[in-house]
Amino acid sequence: MINLLKADLYKLFKNKSFYICLVLSILFSYMGTMINFAYNSFSNAQSMYSLLQMPELNGIYMFKTSFRGGMLFYSIFIAIFIASEFSWQTIKNIVSRGFSREKIYISKLISCSLVSIIITFSYVLVAVLYATIKSGFGKLPSHFVLNLIRMILLECLVVISITSLFVMVVFLIKGIAGSVATNLLINFFSGDLIVLGITLLLEKMFKKDVDVNKYWMFSYNNIFASFSLSNDVVFRGIVVCVLSLVVFTAIGIISFKKRDI
């Protein structure tokens, strides 16, 4: 397992796609924050005479709102990184040397999770730095360091469970183009609009309020990005993310084990 990880990490950090996705993620974060600031100052100027006020953009605000920014880039990288093993048929070099398919899968999941975390936190860091330079970090909440560590750990869990979905998709599809396209679709369908759509649909079907966000893995990117979380929310979020991680990984491993190479 250690050898598998060593080989995967070597390939990962020698892979140009990783650096391209990382740089693009950083650029998008920088440009996105810049546009946010421009839009904010424009909207504030427009609404000077009204009661509407845009949120105060600062480091802490960007920190709480940027955790989903890198998803597009790591989903693309995961598709390229894993599917190319199948396209170049190098997966045969690994399987034929007696490594169990479970271990091969887990090794890919761990290395891709690492990439997802790097990309996510790079995105967040750039946004926070830009905002802090422009208008300061903002007022620190109480128990800042402890809450920050908790938030980072919870966000890592969310990113890993989202990564497990992308990894599963690639192991099911195997082709680079198909995997990239499907992961992009997941990016699109994971958004708030879809959650709203599902919520409305469920409400119509069951004639009562259903909060889909509670059970939607992707929502916890935003829900966990708070310095004041109740234990209930944390517990529910952890259960949703761990369950998603286990289910997606199990499906991926079963499929990989059953299929011929």
């Binding site: 170049w88 040397r97 011929d260």
Partner: protein
């Protein structure tokens, strides 16, 4: 007791009900270069993929190094299956480094040594995607050699190579067997090339293993002979030995005798047999080359 690198027991594989491998019992002895011969679609790659763990058999089983703990034993084999499987954006050294990390080989000198063995020491920073097919095949062999496996399984390693490339790879395989004591299973279409290095052969046709034969048995089967079909084989043998003084002969079945070596002309043998009252149904001079022998086997013809 004979040591085997690979033994299969009734190995069968079907895809969507179509049987592509049918009850195959293959035996590769340690130290052999085993030529695995068959037409396209005969089932060679399917069998190799099953041995490598890429496919699961529908029925039957196999042993590697007399053990059925296959994943453990697979650490002792190196494979090339179908095309060279390389990381195209990596150099030869980087490709080998991936394999070294995978197999826990920490000595970097191994990489230089392997590149030297396969003749790719001077490729520098050239990416694998820019390699010629011959270079890719040789790099694949080097990848398969990482971890010093005892058994190499090479599926069509000389496919698409020019004559120089074929000779290079053939010489390399012979060297790996003689100098590094590797057991090698090699599947190949070029029968003449295979005949130059293999010590044992398995012929597969439409998923069935038609024959396993050693190089000496093949030589025997292919040497020039006079094939005589008679109605009384015992009497015919007596006349050959005592009247014509022929001792280098073999009774193939109940009516056929093969005479090897320097034999007199067929007319004199015919007249001697006829005068002794032995009916001669046919006398044919057989001079079969290795390719013709294998082609007959692959086409389902018997080889007496």
């Amino acid at each position: 007791m004979m040591d085997f690198a690979l033994k299969t027991f009734g190995l069968t594989k079907s895809f969507s009900g179509k049987i592509v491998l049918d009850n195959v019992n293959l035996n590769v002895r340690k130290g052999d270069i085993y030529g695995f011969i068959g037409k396209n679609g005969a089932g060679k790659t399917t069998l190799i993929k099953i041995v490598a763990g890429l496919l699961k058999p529908t029925a039957g089983s196999l042993e590697l190094f007399s053990s059925s703990d296959l994943n453990k034993q697979r650490t002792r084999i190196g494979t090339i299956i179908e095309n060279p499987s390389l990381y195209p954006n990596f150099t030869a050294k980087e490709n080998l480094r991936v394999q070294c990390k995978l197999l826990g080989v920490s000595d970097e000198k191994v990489i230089d040594k392997l590149l030297d063995i396969v003749g790719l020491s001077d490729t520098g920073r050239k990416k694998a995607k820019k390699f010629s097919l011959g270079m890719k095949q040789r790099l694949s062999i080097a990848m398969a050699l990482v971890g010093d496996p005892e058994f190499l399984i090479l599926d069509e390693p000389i496919n698409g190579l020019d004559p120089t490339g074929i000779k290079d790879v053939r010489d390399l395989i012979a060297k790996l067997n003689s100098e590094y004591n590797k057991t090698i299973l090699i599947s190949c279409h070029l029968l003449g090339e295979l005949a130059k290095i293999a010590s044992c052969y398995g012929v597969i046709n439409e998923g069935k293993l038609v024959k396993e034969i050693t190089a000496s048995e093949l030589e025997e089967a292919c040497k020039e002979c006079l094939c005589i079909k008679v109605d009384n084989i015992e009497k015919a043998c007596d006349i050959l030995e005592n009247k014509i003084n022929i001792t280098n002969y073999e009774s193939i079945n109940e009516d056929t005798i093969n005479i090897y070596g320097d034999f007199p002309n067929s007319a004199s043998i015919n007249s001697e047999l006829l005068s002794a009252g032995v009916g001669v149904n046919s006398i044919i001079k057989k001079d079969k080359d290795v390719e013709a022998y294998f082609i007959d086997l692959m086409e389902g013809k018997t080889n007496d």
